[in-house]
């Protein structure tokens, strides 16, 4: 990948649980078609799924941007939502502000941000309470073996 950037953007609807996960599925399919390492694709799939679910669970709506950069993959998810008051606290495993009805569906276990962290090389979160959150994730594929 020498300098040829490819970018896509997908809309995510808040509270649309029926379609939740479709955006990260698409990202995954693209990476598979481009021939990325399977373990790398899996990591990206999990990280982007968590980011997508955060929008679905908490926000009004959001957008997921994917960019294939020369050395890495960048995913930016921005949403219009309540924002995260204490990012450090939200990074702790098990911490969740998801309402009970969402937890009953098996979501909101407080693993979202920790899972993103685990599966990315860089994770930057900028959030404004009452306005929304921007999550930026950088994931570097392993060096080709050839």
């Amino acid at each position: 990948m020498q300098g040829k950037a490819l970018e896509w953007a997908y809309e995510i609807e808040g509270r649309d649980f029926r379609n939740a996960g479709k955006v990260s599925s698409k990202v995954k399919e693209i990476l598979k078609e481009l021939g990325f390492d399977p373990a790398f694709v899996r990591g990206v799939a999990i990280a982007s799924y968590e980011a997508e679910m955060n929008v679905v669970c908490h926000a009004e709506k959001g957008t997921l941007h994917v960019a294939i950069l020369p050395e890495a993959l960048k995913i930016v998810v921005e949403d219009q939502g309540p924002g995260i008051p204490d990012i450090e606290l939200a990074m702790q495993e098990g911490y969740s502000t998801a309402p009970p009805e969402i937890r009953e569906m098996g979501f909101g276990a407080g693993m979202g941000l920790p899972n993103m962290k685990k599966n990315t090389d860089e994770l930057n979160i900028v959030s404004t309470v009452g306005k929304g959150t921007v999550v930026e994730m950088i994931i570097r594929p392993p060096r080709p073996r050839e």
Partner: protein, 451 residues
Amino acid sequence: MIRMKRSYGIITIDEDKCQGCVNCMMSCRTEAIRIFEGKARILAARCIYCGKCFRDCPENAITSRTHGLSDLKHFKYTVCIPSSAIYSQFPGESAPNRILCALKALGFDEVAEEAIGAEEASIVTQEYLKGYRGPYPLISSLCPAIIRLIQIRFPHFVDQINPIDLPAEIVAKDIRKAKAKELGIKEEELGIFYLVPCPAKMVAVTKTETKERSYIDRVISIAEIYGQLLAALRQVREEEDLQKASGTGIGWAVKGGEIRELERQQSLRGDKESIVVDGIKNAINVLDEIENGKLRNVEFIEARACPEGCVGGALTVADRYVSRGRIRKLMLSEEKGSAVDRAEVVRRFKKGYYFLEKGLKPRPFAGRLDADPPKAVEKMKVRDEIHSSLPGLDCGACGAPNCRAFADDVVQGRAEVTDCIFKWREGVKDLAREVMQLAEKRPHSLPKRGR
């Protein structure tokens, strides 16, 4: 007339029968079929040998090559291992033992049930689960079409396939080890035949990836010998006692049969879930959700390519729903106890007897656009541009199953944009406009019109 048949591995398409309709192409879940010059063609790298197209072809043009009973003469001693699906294929009082007697009457020296191998495989899986600490979920290794689907589309999960051999191979391995010696014949004089319900099992044996050579010598489909078996069934007078398998092993022929025994033996953990899924599309959905992390906490997946399980195999004859009912009856009857010695199975398991001899390999690149990443990116750009210019009807008239697959084919040089009937029509329209414009022109030597 020379019959025109084209082969793709063991699958053959009779091109005299094929009308080039799009039924098989549209129903193929891995998008492995294209229509080219009026005939269906298979992209072998994408095919998982499920046989769905056999059923969906209205002309019965697609089938698979199979060995036959004529091969019996190549061997001194022959053993038939019938898939448990065979017990579901005949109506009325055709109890398993009677079916086995009829099968033997076709010329085999011995019959050995696949279901015995399934009983062993279940015990082995129970033992394996005791020591298994992930990654989860563990995926059943019974359905070779699902295994190939995973190798191609979910390569990351290859390591999570239960590393235990096919029940039929387990049975064949037992026979091969002991029989030739016992009879005092050479190994190659012993012929082990496997009676299969689907092309995927055929390929899993004839092109095995998990050992140097399969323990099975020949594969015959249930459909291939159904007529002869039906006739033999009517002629069975005295029954020899041949059935050794219990409902536990026979149950593997239907979806849920494998997990049912794991549940009965309390081998699955209470704090995790298990999934039974049939049909390729459904299996893709489940695996996709697991890959995304949407489905979590799943311990074991029993996935079968065919609806209702092996009784729904493409090379079976009876209706799959009736068949499921027949197997369920056998499964639930406790008449027959298991003939398998659990302690012996556990002992052999600990020695590694049941494991695949060679691990399964991922085949992640069946779907990629190019081996060279920059080229793949370039192709994807062009592909997406072409895709967005297409009508999005997924009509199949171009010979590809949908507009996205067609755009792929164009980028890969397998098709031209004008193969799309709408693009072609646009082209004709543009051309016609140009012709009209040209027709309006007059040489400057002539006076202008209207003067």
